[in-house]
């Protein structure tokens, strides 16, 4: 290595470190609430609200976690939540298909359809509550996990993402496949979906997160705890005025940790996938 090269390398490394410092500070700010959450979940009640606030507990206790499983039907809610995630992934497929349809088959009406889809992102959920309930009720799908998943099965955000991404798929590729005699559905599964892998992973992650955290529809569309999810189950612990902070934190921790693990494992694929064909 020449002197200039090694000097440049050293300067680059210094620059990297200089960037890493404020970045790490920022990351710690992002992480602090989580550390706090987990720490609080293993504290005793009085320690959890003590002043000055201690980050780490002086006494460890898993009482809050045991309370979660004894006072709440936690395992049951977790299974429901997992089921909802599964159904959500089916919805992801429908979303991808819609994005594909809007991207590759342009037409005036379809353009308006797309804007209509976008509009649904612009209304507060509370407004949709009663009409949605009446529809699901009429279809006989209340108190049923599929019915509960229906209102949020297709995400307007997702359709938008897929459309923008799939527009970049070269038409020539699709035409070639058509000439070869492939059916449209086959083209979708064979070409469009694989190319959209990065978006699939991103949207998949978002779908998993949203389904995992789902609260409003499982609450409204259930007529028994049978179909409650983790979020709803947790809110059962909220008393009218005072709430046990350690149990709240334990519940929140149980809900958050699986998602974080999932993200940590998946993030390599997300960003790596993007390097192959970025969203331009």
């Amino acid at each position: 290595m020449t002197k200039t090269q090694s000097r440049r390398k050293a300067r680059e490394r210094v620059a990297t470190v200089l960037i890493a410092v404020p970045l790490t500070v920022g990351a710690l700010v992002c992480a602090l609430p989580f550390v706090w959450m987990v720490a609080n979940s293993v504290k005793t009640r009085s320690e959890a609200v003590s002043y000055p606030p201690q980050l780490l507990p002086s006494q460890w206790t898993f009482a809050a976690y045991t309370k979660l499983f004894t006072e709440l039907d936690f395992l049951h809610y977790m299974l429901n939540t997992v089921a909802l995630v599964g159904i959500g992934l089916v919805g992801l497929l429908l979303t991808a298909m819609a994005g594909y349809g809007f991207a590759k088959f342009p037409g005036r009406a379809l353009g308006w359809g797309f804007f209509a889809v976008l509009m649904t992102m612009m209304i507060p959920a509370q407004v949709t509550m009663i009409p949605t309930y009446l529809v699901v009720n009429a279809a006989g799908l209340t108190n049923n996990l599929v019915g509960i998943a229906l209102p949020t099965l297709v995400s307007a955000f997702g359709v938008f993402l897929f459309r923008q991404f799939m527009i970049t798929i070269p038409d020539s590729l699709l035409e070639a496949a058509r000439i070869d005699g492939a059916s449209e559905l086959r083209i979708f599964f064979a070409i469009a979906l694989p190319v959209s892998r990065p978006i699939l992973i991103v949207q998949g992650l978002l779908t998993v997160i949203a389904s995992w955290n789902s609260f409003l529809w499982p609450l409204i569309l259930s007529s028994s705890q049978r179909t409650y999810t983790l979020s709803v189950g947790l809110s059962l612990l909220n008393k009218q005025i005072t709430t046990d902070p350690t149990v709240q934190m334990a519940g929140a921790a149980l809900m958050t940790l699986p998602i974080i693990v999932l993200f940590f494992l998946a993030q390599r694929h997300i960003v790596a996938g993007f390097t192959m064909s970025g969203i331009k």
Binding site: G113, V127, V271
Partner: protein
Amino acid sequence: MQSSPAPGGLAASDRRPLPRRPVARAASHRRPTSRWAGWGFALPALALVAVFGLMPILVAAGVSFTDLDIAGLAHPETIRLVGAANYVQLAGDPEFWAAFALTAGYVVVGVPLIAVLALAVATGLNRSDGRFFRLLRTLYFLPAVTALVAISVIWKYMFNGQFGLFNWLLDLVGLPAVNWLSDPASAQIAVGLVAVWRAIGLNSIILLAALQGVPGEQLEAAALDGAGPVRRYLYVVLPQIRFALGFVVMTTLIGWLQFFDEPFVLTDGGPVGATTSLSLFLFKRGFRLNEFGYASAGSIVLLVTIAAVTLIQLRLRKAHD
């Protein structure tokens, strides 16, 4: 958005040729199938969106012209059409306008702030692909994935005037305690801060991905031309990630016009209404009190506002492209 070829987008296995079949179709055959195919693909999702997304909007529009409340729900025959009365009431309600102004304020300050911060974080994270930086990526994403209840409890504890972390830190350096969530001005900042903190995660990941897609050759060419790092960034990188940036701005804009979660869980719109956004105003005034006609009118106003802003943004971008 031009369709440009996506370089290297296909994995090797995708390039396996499809089984050949005798070609006997006329070229004109393709046009009609295309259109129907488009509808076919979009239909299931469109149907769901129509039923669960558009239908409620139409219902809300209809309800906004009535005096529907919980009594009306029980006895639909007592519902009366009141014309534009709900809208008139809204227009004459100073709290509605205060909420509108507050939301606008948050959008004007918050959206650019998030865009800039997310870009800064993404640029920083893009510096290296090493294990440490990958860990940082996960940390930045954490706020985006947590359930709101956890975020609210944690931040409320940290902001608490008596035993909160922030006041304790201030105390350590000898500064006076701040009543973060009790003083109207600081409450607005505190709530905004949490919202920005929450929004950075997902947006920075999107921008990071876009940054990583910037073709290296262009940067090399610019460097050879003598452009310094700042110029390279401004004139090569930024234009390349134009779409992702626009996407981040648009979705954040739509989200922040409906600003609800943070003020709801942190301050319930307080103190004395200082952090009541438009959505929260509708929720408290309309939904909590079961005044559905009034709440629907407000929701339609919000919808029209968001749609207008989005259309303007889309037009601007089309013109720019």
